[in-house]
């Protein structure tokens, strides 16, 4: 795991001290709210419906048990005993006092964390595949490059006042778990003809008011050129991106209006000037960062040991249906023999997606130390995971998680719903998202039913800004306000992986009391007409919207 060097420490501590002064000047009246607002936003501090909200960055979703304990401690001492994991691998606190935020940031700095660039028109927290470093099919660990981007983009003087916010995601695997095609820049590791690793560069993806799937502007970028190429893209955007209309200011609009070809030409021309210059990746620095992401000391099991372990494991699986269900949905294959990736669902039946209590945070920290080399990951699906667990320890881990409501066997299933905070917390929202997610997870509570349905992503946003990623849900739900009443528009057919697609609206919106029934109707219709183990979007492609529409709107 990356550890701060002296520059990182100094930078973060200086920013805390600077913000402490800014808060004091705001409280004394020396700064107006108009002057203060951009300063607090640069430090991740929003003012939401009920109180301030602080968004803490978890770069590329990787953090330690020690950091998790501090997050728990902050939840207890500065907030109301819980935190909320977001769709960008961040954690949010919903109730901090402004006058205590500087102390809170000091505590974060003590464990090498901060809230910088989690808001504002800058390059935001870089996200990555949450299986980075442990996925069997991975080309290279994308966190090395995500960390380089983090360092390059932190307080980058040229890119601190972009036309609009800017999000970069990186994946090292062909199967995209990081939704790179719906980011401003998506980096997908690939190999050239000689087998050398590099990146396919995608630009202009994004959700919100005007959703777009990113365009590939470069098939292959050698790794050493990563930062200079990113700098070229950002320069073109910084110069040509619109600043007159915030709804047209994202890079996706620029790419769309110029056309991918013309945009690419501009980037390549800019890059020709930058290439082989000062921002080329120095091999020594890459190696230094790479060393932080070296695999932990895995135990080398003999074939005979693995066989015995496997036999015991299969007995457990056979004897305990709850464990078997959890294994099926929450445990993924690991690159090291005898190890597994254990996902921790933050979507209990009727729970708030992404919420976790301070006590649960402490438990996850303890279990990570006991079973997983002290490392934890946050996924953009608002769940956690332990990337390196011995298969032989899975049963004990599952039992411990289950005692604290953290063993819901539903990763990737219908109850593993992404939902933004919606109108329960957010000033931008038009409708609530969380209670809809809760009601759906209650409706589909039976694990057997969820497993019978199979993988199915429901994503809910409380407004068109789409923090709940509804455009890329196989079933997407968008909350809207119609003359003061909450309604929910349903889209079908979205996807956030390597086959990224934007869902299409199926028909008129549903009322708050109707939307769960509508979702169930869609799911039941899918089950009726799917062939063999066809995935939801495959069925939709084969039969179209008609059967779903008929069932949903037949009575109208």
């Amino acid at each position: 795991m990356y550890r701060y060097d002296e520059f990182d420490h100094t930078l973060v501590q200086e920013r805390v001290a600077q913000f402490r002064g800014q808060v004091a000047r705001r409280l004394s009246g020396e700064l107006s709210e108009e002057e203060f607002k951009p300063l607090r936003l640069m430090n991740g501090l929003y003012l939401q419906l009920h109180a301030y909200m602080l968004r803490v960055a978890i770069p590329y979703g990787t953090f330690s048990a020690r950091q998790m304990r501090t997050l728990a401690d902050i939840a207890r001492r500065y907030d109301k005993g819980y935190g909320h994991f977001t769709t960008r691998q961040n954690i949010q606190y919903n109730w901090p006092r402004l006058d205590r935020v500087p102390d809170l940031l000091d505590e974060l700095a003590g464990v090498e964390m901060h809230a910088l660039q989690t808001s504002g028109n800058c390059i935001r927290n870089v996200t990555a595949d949450h299986y980075a470093g442990v996925a069997a099919e991975e080309i290279e660990d994308p966190r090395i490059y995500a960390e380089l981007i983090r360092q390059w983009s932190s307080l980058h003087p040229e890119f601190s006042f972009l036309p609009r916010k800017f999000k970069i995601a990186v994946t090292g695997s062909p199967h995209d778990r990081a939704a790179v095609k719906v980011h401003d820049i998506g980096l997908q590791m690939c190999r050239d003809e000689d087998g050398a690793p590099g990146f396919a560069v995608l630009v202009g993806g994004g959700l919100g008011r005007s959703p777009f799937v990113a365009k590939k502007i470069r098939e292959f970028l050698p790794k050493r050129h990563l930062l200079s190429y990113l700098e070229a893209i950002l320069r073109v955007y910084n110069q040509l991106g619109r600043r007159d209309n915030k709804y047209k200011a994202r890079i996706k609009i620029l790419v769309h209006e110029l056309g991918a070809e013309a945009f690419t030409e501009l980037v390549e021309a800019e890059w020709a000037e930058l290439k082989d210059g000062t921002v080329e990746l120095p091999a020594g620095e890459v190696a230094r960062i790479q060393s932080y992401f070296a695999p932990p000391p895995y135990e080398a099991f003999s074939g005979a040991t693995l066989e015995i372990q496997n036999r015991e494991f299969e007995v457990r699986r056979f004897e305990d249906r709850g464990f078997a269900n959890w294994l099926r949905s929450n445990v993924a294959a690991h690159k090291a023999p005898g190890y597994a990736i254990a996902n921790i669902s933050l979507k209990p039946e009727g729970g708030v997606p992404g919420d976790i209590t301070a006590e649960q945070m402490d438990l996850v920290a303890e279990l990570a130390e006991r079973f997983g080399f002290g490392e934890i990951r946050a996924s953009h699906q608002q769940n956690l995971l332990m990337p390196d667990v011995k298969r032989a320890d899975l049963y004990a881990l599952w039992q411990a998680l289950g005692r604290h409501g953290l063993a819901s066997p539903n990763i990737g299933l219908v109850a593993d719903i992404i939902a933004c905070p919606g109108l329960d917390y957010c000033t931008l929202a038009n409708a609530r998202a969380i209670p809809v997610a809760q009601a759906i997870s209650e409706r589909f509570a039976d694990p057997a039913r969820q497993h019978a349905i199979g993988e199915l992503g429901i994503k809910i946003s409380g407004c068109i800004n789409a923090c709940g990623h509804h455009h890329v849900g196989q079933i997407g739900i968008l909350g809207v306000d119609k003359k003061g009443v909450e309604f929910y528009q349903i889209t079908l057919g979205g996807a956030a992986d390597e086959n990224a697609a934007l869902g299409k609206i199926i028909g008129p919106a549903f009322g708050y009391d109707q939307v769960v029934d509508a979702v169930e109707t869609i799911v039941d219709t899918y089950l009726e007409i799917r062939v063999d183990d066809e995935a939801f979007n495959q069925t939709l492609t084969r039969v179209g919207f008609a059967p779903f529409k008929e069932k949903l709107y037949a009575a109208h």
């Binding site: 705001r26 409280l27 004394s28 009246g29 107006s32 709210e33 003012l47 939401q48 419906l49 009920h50 109180a51 301030y52 109301k80 109730w95 901090p96 006092r97 402004l98 006058d99 708030v352 109108l423 329960d424 917390y425 609530r432 969380i434 209670p435 809760q438 003061g484 909450e486």
Partner: protein, 102 residues
């Protein structure tokens, strides 16, 4: 015109507050029941001017008018957004004003 009150978020802790007190007092309460009610446009403009008046910027952030309906003598926000602000998250009844003033 619907009755109106002024709401804002308190500067130091961010909590939702309502302009209350006797006319011209310019003080704030966490309880919507304490809010001073304007029954016409002129009174509403006066309330907002008071909320934005000297010294208020170090007490509150972003004051604005909201429509209310009276339930007995007590003001209730017309919009569900403001109803949620007045009570707290509908998904956490143990938090917010609904818990603090239960």
């Amino acid at each position: 015109m619907a009755d109106k009150i002024v709401t804002a978020n308190r500067l130091d802790d961010g909590l939702v507050v309502y302009l209350n007190g006797a006319s011209g007092g310019g003080s704030w309460s966490e309880r919507i029941e304490d809010a001073r009610i304007a029954g016409d446009d002129a009174a509403a403009d006066g309330l907002l001017a008071e909320a934005e008046g000297p010294g208020q910027e170090i007490r509150v952030v972003g004051p604005y008018l909201i429509e209310i309906a009276l339930e007995g003598a007590e003001p209730r926000p017309v919009s569900y957004r403001e109803a949620i602000r007045a009570k707290g998250p509908t998904v956490r009844l143990d938090l917010g004003k609904q818990a603090d003033f239960a």
